[in-house]
Every structure is written in C-alpha cells, then in structure tokens.
Amino acid sequence: MDTLANLALGFGVALSPFTLMLAVLGCVLGTIIGALPGLGPSNGVAILIPLAFTLGLDATSALVLMTSVYYGAMYGGRISSILLNIPGDEPALMTTLDGYPMAKQGRAGDALVLSGVASFAGGLLATIGLIIMAPLLARVAYLFGPAEYFALYLLAFCTLGGMASNNQAKSALAACIGLGIAMIGLDNTTGMPRFTYGNLHLMDGVDFLVAIVGLFAVAEVFFFIESHGKDSAIGVKLDKITIPIRDIGRSTVTMLRASLIGFVAGVLPGAGASLGSFLAYMGEKTVARDKDTFGTGNPKGIAAPEAGNNAAAGGALVPMLTLGVPGSGTTAVLLALLMTLNITPGPLLFTERPEVVWGLIASLLIANVVLLILNVPLVKIFVKVLMVPPWVLLPGVTMISFVGIYSLSGSYFDLLLMVGFGVLGYFLRKMDVPTVPIILGILLGNAMEDSLRRAMVISSGDWTFLFSSPIAIGLWIAAFAGFIAPIFLRPFLKKPQRITD
C-alpha cells in the first residue's frame, strides 16, 4: 500500500497541464534525437540540459522533460535501424538485424509498430520493476565484483559465434578487430597510453559512436557512389500500414523474457542498454524454434532487442537512484542534472526526497504512454522518410552524421576517424565480414579487459579467483554452452541467410 500511496504522490507532482506538455515536448525531441544517426540518448539529454535551465524549470519539471527525452531517444533509435539499416544509437544496433530485412520485405510499418509496442512493454515492465524492487535490487550491484563482470562480458562474446552471419570465422575475426580497436587509448590499470602515437585525440580511445556511424552510414554512402545510385540499400518498398496484431501476439512471451534480461543488464552498473539488447536478442534466438529465420525479418528478432534495450533504460535508473552509480552513459548525464539541481542520489534519496523519486517514476510512466501514442498511430509520418529518393536522403544522412559526430567532442579528428571507419566498413562488407561484432568489440572490450585486470590485481595473479563465486561459475557455464552449442547444433540447422545488401 505504501507503494500505491507513493505513486499517488508522484502523479500528484508530475500530472499538471504544464508538465504533461513538457512530457510531450520531451518525447518528440527525444524521438527525433534518437532517430538521427550519431546523436544518441546521452548526447540528446546533454544538449537539452541548457534548455531546462533557460526555461527556469524547477527540479520536477526538469526531470520530467529530461526523462521524456531519455525514453524518447530509446524509442527513436529503432527508426533509422529499421528504415535505413543504420542504428540511430548504440543500443539500437541489434534492431537492424531483423528490422531492416523486414522493412525490405515491404513491412516497414509493421516493423515500426511492432518495435514500438515492444519498446512500450520493455519500458513499462522496467518502470514497474523499478517501483517494486529498486531498494532490493540495489544490493545486486554489491554481488558483482571484477570476476563476475569478466564472466558476464565473456558470455556476451561467446554467444557472438551464433550471430547473424553465414560464416562464424568471419564473425570471430570481426570481433577481434573490434577488440583490437578497443585497446587504443589510456590503459586504465596503469594509466599509460597505448597505441596513441602521442596523439591526444586517441588518449580516450575510439568512441563507439564514431565507429557506428562510420561503419554503417558512411560505408553506405560509398556503396551508393559505387553503384551510381542504382540498387542502393536505402529506400524500401512500402505497402499500406496496419497493426500487425498477429506478430504482436506471437511475440508477447518474447517481450516478457527480453524485458527481464534487459532490466537485469540495466541494473548492473556499466553493462547498460547495449548489452541488454544484445543478450535479449541472443537469448531469444537460442530458445526460439524458428532460429533459422532470425536475421531475415523474424518479428521476435525485432521485439526482443527493443524490449530489451528499453527495459535496460529503466533498469539503469536503479543503481543511479539508489547508489549514485550510473548504469549507462545517459544515466551519468541524468546524474549530473540531479546534482546541478542539488539532489544527491544515493542510498537515502528514497527516504529524504520521495517527491523527486516518485515524481520521476510517475513521469517515466507518463512518457511511456505518450511515446506509445506518438509511435504507433503516428508511425506513418516516420515512414514518409522513405518517399524521399535516395539521392536526397543519403547526402542528408551524411550531413547529419557529420554534425552529430562533430558535436561529440568538437574536433575534426573524429570526423577523419569516422571516414576511416567508412572505408574499413566498405571493404569489410565487400568481403562479407559482418560489422556488428566490431562494434560490440569496441563497446565491451575495455570493460572486459578492465574487469580481468582488476581481478588479477586483487587476487595477486591467481586465476582461480575468476571462478570464486557461484555467480561467476554460472556465467562461465552459460558462456561455454553458448560457444559450444552452435557447433554441435549446426548440422541440424539451416544457416541463416542474411540480407547483406
């Protein structure tokens, strides 16, 4: 009953015509930001923080606006994944695998509606999880030490072998390229620079947004130039838009499972939405009976990563609010916003500032409903992007990519790097090497290395420390199963035919 009373308090704070207007504004802005390649949720929230201050908003209104932008961007990321095969932000990476093939089949509208509903389910379930279990879940972070984190990242890499690709060796090669790129920059354990050749821009390593936009968007431009605009991947057939009730129905269980996985990944500090959507997708592929259709436009392959990444977005708020540890890049920005508003997240926030916490939770629920309304009935507007011929669309995408990447650190070096990744992506695709594992290598490689080396420092180099807890052992077993199972199952499965154009 306490929870209901608190929730009522939250809605009391968050439900006024003005805050509702802010929620709608935030959702629209967030969706646009998420859809633009290169501009992810964390940039989006960061760019809009000054807006909150210029409007002179109080703490609650500012939070409503910013969380709406946050959730909006998580929704928006899928749009360019599905329509352009370019992830709008890093968690939307997995949505390209089935979303784009489905759009190619002329079911772009279905894919968008289905992913919108999946996003809603993920977001809603995560918010409910946050309400019921936040104080309890805060303890989970205490159970994960370096050994456990290492096993968790290992699990992610071991399941890579089953990724959408015709050739597992090429997947592994791509993952190694990604891991290699991740080694560039300051070594966190010794503080010494590696592979930077004295270049200050490389000290922080390669930003994965630069890699994503380069490998996906810029490489696409090169293909476009090569083909003189004919047979471009961009632009898909479009039939009339209906609500794909059958697909939604068939994916209900998928959404529930994916939400759970995503939420747990979000709760773990440092794992975040990308790992959430990845594990949700791979998990769903493992249990599905129609495995071989994953990568060709399977509705479950769209529902799983979208439910997973939106659930992770909610889950990431748990450690941020209860421990002050941001669970993802965007929550780090929200944390900064809270601190600027003189609210210090931590173990006492729930008891000391209930109006802030419950106002935030209520605004999450409101934002989620607003986003469902924006994304399902109004999906036609987004699909209209397709009516624009590729020779207009592609230069536009390029321009947005350049602006988005430049806004990351304001340096032209990132632009050069992005073009470099575009060239790399062009040749890799010529050789049929998948680019998704490269991104995962860059995204997770450093965290995995840091965990391993921290574990070695703590245990004075004793490798048995890696198997020192039940959680770690469980994750190791899952990782081995994930790695070996596809090898034995291969004779029984048809290879997925990924649409590579």
Binding site: M203, L335, G346
Partner: protein, 322 residues
C-alpha cells in the same frame, strides 16, 4: 518526419551552436563529458555568475572531453590563448596530470590558475563490517602483509585517488609503496560498491562520493585528509590527528588563458570570490559534500606551484614518471 524538416532542424541546431560560442558571452569549458566534477563546476559556477549579476549573459557551458582534460588544455593554449571571456573547469586531477606529463608535453605555466572556491576532502573508507576500526589498523595490516589489502578508487593508477593511500602509508613509515594494491574503477560510487561488496578492502576517494553511504551506515570513514575536521562531519577523525601528516583535498576551481591582461585576471579572481561568498554556492557546497576552500588570484597560483612540485616528487617515486 519529413526529411526536409529534419535538415532544417539540424541547420537550426548548427546556427544555435555557432551563436553559443560567440565572443560576447562567457564560455566555460568542462574538459569532460556531462556528469562529472568538472561539468558540475562549470554548470554551477556558470549559473551563479549569471544569477548574482557578475556576467550579463548566461554562461555557455561547452563539454570538451578528451585525454582526461588534455584535449581542452591543448585547445585553450593553442587556439584561445588571449580570450578574456573563457574560463575552464579544473581540479586536483588537472594539476596531477600536468605534473605527470600526461597532457602530451603541456605544462602548468601555459595557463593561469585563477582560483578554487571549494574542495572535496580526501577520505579513506572501509565497509561497515570491516575489521579495520582506525587508520592505524589499516596501515599496520598493510605493513604486515601488503597483499592483504586492495584499494579501489575512481581514478586510474597514478591518479589523485591512488596518491592518497600512498601518502598515508609513507607517512606511516612504509616505503615499499609500489607493493600497495590499487584498482581504478569508474568513479567513486563504483569504488564503494566494490568495497561494500567485499571485493576490495578499502576505498579511497572524495568526501562527496561517500556522504550518502556514510549516512545510510554502509561504510565507515577511517580518516579524512584535511587539516581540521570537516564541518557537518565532526565525528570523522582526520589523518593528521591519528599521527599521519597527510592533507589531500580535491579542489574545484578554474583556469584561464595565459595571455589575458593582469586586470582581466584579477577581475576573474574577484568574480570567483563573489560566487564563493554567495548563499547559492554555500547551499550547493553543503548539498554536495564540499568543504569551504577559497583561494583566488596570485595567492592560488603560488599554492598550485607548490602542489605540482610535491606531486612530481611522489610520482617519480612510484615510477609513473622518470
């Protein structure tokens, strides 16, 4: 979303960005992504400067992350070296890295440190159920078996958080400081979860990072590294009074380009003093666990020179620099 309206939106954003950096408004560069201490410094000082009327237009905050602040430092030195409307957030991390030559050859005398208006006291923390009750317990345990205690902190090895336990152990007569285990994690709160979880035995960080956990009773602060006990936390003993002569505070302040005039430099010093004296800043400090620590102008610059010399000595000893 029709594409043409998208492009208009982006064009609008580009125009807005250009206007934001126009010369008339003060710009504060936070040399990190939004969310950290430097970002806080810029946003908070920027907001108060405008609220108290010290500047006539809202302060534009620019996040320029890269190389632990090195990118912004190089940018200021090379491209904005005489811009009187530019301030840059700085802290102990800035001077530590300058002392350790981590900014690619840049040196501290390439900019002017204009002032600090608050400091985050250094702390050594253990989990509430730890066997260590005093700083002496911890130091003696390490002396007996250096491998038995691992510290977690929010900075990379050789960073400011790493320096704190090294200074304490040196003061306690333990000279083999390279044997001390330290892992750098992503921020102070993460270091605490590792310590409360029992993966590391102690945490080294700033007071602001541990306040919430102290109040909820999950950790015990063995020592605060200030000269006097910190107001509001009078029951936490200092390292000095426990016989370890170590003072390490993470100051929050600003530097400005080198080639501005002396008048412009002292004007910034005075404006910072105004911020320091404002009720709004007092409130922000209290809410974020900062202790009063105001030094502005030439006074601050000479204090900084001393701190850097000291850091150089210690870094040489642990082998971070030659």
């Amino acid at each position: 979303m029709h594409f043409s309206s998208l492009s208009r939106l982006m064009a609008g954003a580009a125009v807005a960005l250009t206007l934001g950096t126009a010369a008339s408004a003060t710009e504060c560069i936070a040399p990190a992504n939004p969310g950290g201490g430097w970002d806080f410094t810029c946003r908070q000082i920027g907001k108060i400067l405008y609220d108290i009327g010290a500047v006539d237009q809202p302060v534009q905050v620019t996040n320029m992350a890269g190389a632990g602040g090195g990118l912004a430092f190089a940018y200021v030195v090379n491209e904005r070296n005489d811009d009187p409307d530019l301030i840059v957030a700085a802290s102990s991390a800035t001077t530590t890295r300058l002392a350790q030559n981590a900014y690619g050859g840049a040196t501290a005398d390439q900019v002017r440190f204009v002032g600090a208006i608050g400091a985050d006291p250094g702390v050594i923390v253990v989990a509430a159920d730890s066997e260590f009750q005093t700083l002496e317990d911890l130091v003696e345990a390490i002396k007996a078996d250096p491998g038995s205690v691992a510290f977690a902190g929010g900075s990379a090895a050789g960073g400011f958080d790493h320096m704190k336990p090294l200074q304490v152990l040196k003061a306690g007569g333990f000279d083999d400081i390279r044997a001390i285990k330290y892992i750098g994690v992503d921020g102070g709160a993460d270091a605490i979860t590792q310590t409360v979880g029992g993966f590391t035995q102690a945490m080294t960080g700033d007071m602001s990072e541990v306040v919430g956990f102290v109040k909820s009773g999950e950790v015990r602060v063995l020592a605060v590294l200030t000269e006097e006990r910190v107001p509001g936390f009078e029951d936490i003993p200092t390292a000095v009074e426990q016989g370890y002569d170590v003072v390490a505070v993470n100051w929050r302040g600003l530097y400005v380009p080198k080639d501005i005039t002396d008048e412009q430099f002292s004007a910034w010093g005075e404006k910072l003093q105004m911020v320091a004296d404002s009720a709004e800043w007092q409130e922000a400090m209290a809410a974020n666990g900062l202790a009063p620590f105001t030094k502005v102008g030439d006074d601050f610059q000479s204090w900084i020179d001393g701190v850097i010399a000291q850091t150089v000595d210690l870094s040489k000893e642990i082998g971070v620099i030659q």
